[in-house]
């Protein structure tokens, strides 16, 4: 009889302890699921529909993810560039992330081989972070014939419309002068891929977008074009 009452008492205690834990677990799962899991992360950019963030773990590569609030599912976009991440051999990283609704655009840089056999690739990638689909993979520009470079060089800024039209400014490689880098303003939209401007006098971070109007500064003056 005494054994039975002790067992009953212990069962009650276990039940009481388990009950709120289960409720809390259910509540927390409900609360965290739709808003993208961002524990131990740093936000790179965010808008009303999505967030781009990177992991921050000691001694681990920092991985960039994109996630829409409506789906709550993170998609891996690539590796965040860190010092020493491109030590030797092949490597790749992404940067210049920009959001427009549920679309993200970023530069993907990869390199293979060493010294004379080294091949660099600079791409603009547009993805839908609602489902992870890659919509566009565009070289940042046209490299010189016979060059081991794919794309024209690194981007300094990217502008994106919510329909996937994208524009960017990139530095043109290889440099013809040690002191003055040359920049190009590119647009990729329904009308195709085109270079809007080129020169050493383009302000590399001057790109801005208002609706479909694209702006940049060259020789200290404002210029505009329509991003269709």
């Amino acid at each position: 009889m005494r054994h039975i009452s002790i067992t009953a008492c212990l069962s009650l205690v276990v039940l009481v302890m388990a009950c709120p834990t289960a409720t809390v677990a259910r509540t927390v799962r409900h609360k965290t699921h739709p808003s993208c899991n961002r524990n131990h992360t740093r936000i790179i950019t965010a808008d009303a529909q999505a967030v781009i963030y990177r992991t921050v773990e000691a001694f681990e590569p920092s991985i960039v993810y994109g996630c829409t609030y409506s789906q709550g599912h993170p998609y891996k976009l690539g590796e965040f560039p860190t010092i020493g991440s491109c030590g030797s051999g092949a490597c790749g990283s992404i940067g210049q992330e920009v959001l427009a609704g549920q679309l993200v655009a970023y530069e993907h840089f990869s390199t293979m081989g060493r010294e004379e056999l080294r091949e660099d690739e600079f791409l603009i990638i547009v993805r839908n972070v609602r489902n992870g689909h890659v919509l566009r993979r565009i070289p940042t520009g046209i490299s010189a014939p016979g060059s081991r470079l794919k794309g024209a060089g690194p981007t300094t800024v990217i502008a994106l419309k919510s329909d996937g039209a994208v524009a960017w400014i990139n530095e043109h490689l290889p440099r013809t002068s040690e002191t003055e880098p040359e920049y190009e303003v590119h647009a990729y939209d329904k009308t195709g891929n085109r270079v809007l401007a080129a020169g050493t006098n383009i302000a590399p971070n001057s790109l801005a977008l208002a609706g479909s109007t694209l702006y940049w500064t060259q020789e200290g003056k404002p210029f505009s074009a329509t991003l269709h």
Binding site: S5, C9, C19, P20, V28, S206, A208, Y215
Partner: protein, 223 residues
């Protein structure tokens, strides 16, 4: 002996209930506090440091900085019937720059000759809710003691240091015109005026402000 064991059992149950409730409360607080509570909300705008949202009734906008996790009510959103015969109060054109938010604040009170109207740009810090600036959208034409500001905002941009620029619409008779305004460390100034300013053309790249007038791009520095 039986009484003792019943008492001990009840004590154990009470202890278990207290400790698990405290643990549960602690867990929920820890998880929800630093990220702004956004359950049952619609996000209006967000950036890396803050978010502005409305509840699903879409009546009021709230702002919250992720670092603090505390929400501040910004004001009522424009919905059908928000401006009745006795006046109205709405906020619009909400933009974020870091932990700062800027929005248009429009209010009216009274009727006929006693009608009072106020159109302001409000800049707030979402880390503490403080209002940093309340700036009339322009000078009313003709000047009136019952009118503050000069018409609705069409577009607005904000820098993370609190500098702000906007395009507002105003009417003189039947003619609708626009003004490009800037408010920064150098003060408040009108950068352009005309019927040929494109109202949604305002854009910002770093400290460079752009707009379109007469089909041509213009720029100025927002200090």
């Amino acid at each position: 002996m039986r009484h003792i064991s019943i008492t001990a059992c009840l004590l154990l149950i009470t202890l278990a209930m207290t400790s698990s409730t405290t643990a549960a409360a602690h867990t929920v607080y820890h998880k929800t506090h630093p990220t702004c509570n956004r359950n049952h909300t619609h996000i209006i705008t967000a950036d890396t440091q803050a978010v502005v949202y409305s509840l699903f009734d879409a009546e009021n906008a709230f702002g919250c900085a992720f670092s603090q996790g505390h929400q501040y009510e910004l004001g009522p959103l424009p919905i059908e019937g928000s401006c009745g015969p006795n006046g109205c109060l709405v906020i619009n054109h909400i933009v974020l720059a870091g932990p700062l938010v800027a929005y248009e604040y429009f209010s009216t009170a009274g009727q006929g000759e006693l009608r009072e109207e106020e159109t302001l740009i409000v800049i707030r810090d979402l880390r503490n809710g403080h209002i940093l600036h309340r700036i009339p959208t322009g000078t009313p034409i003709p000047p009136s003691p019952r009118v503050i500001g000069s018409g609705p905002v069409e577009s607005m941009v904000l820098k993370s240091d609190g500098s702000v620029a906007w395009i507002n619409e105003y009417s003189v008779g039947k003619i609708t015109s626009y003004e490009v305004h800037a408010f920064d460390k150098t003060g408040s100034r009108v950068l352009a005026t005309g019927t040929n300013i494109v109202p949604n053309s305002l854009a910002l790249a770093g400290s460079t402000l752009y707009w379109i007038q007469e089909g041509k791009p213009f720029s100025a520095m927002l200090h």
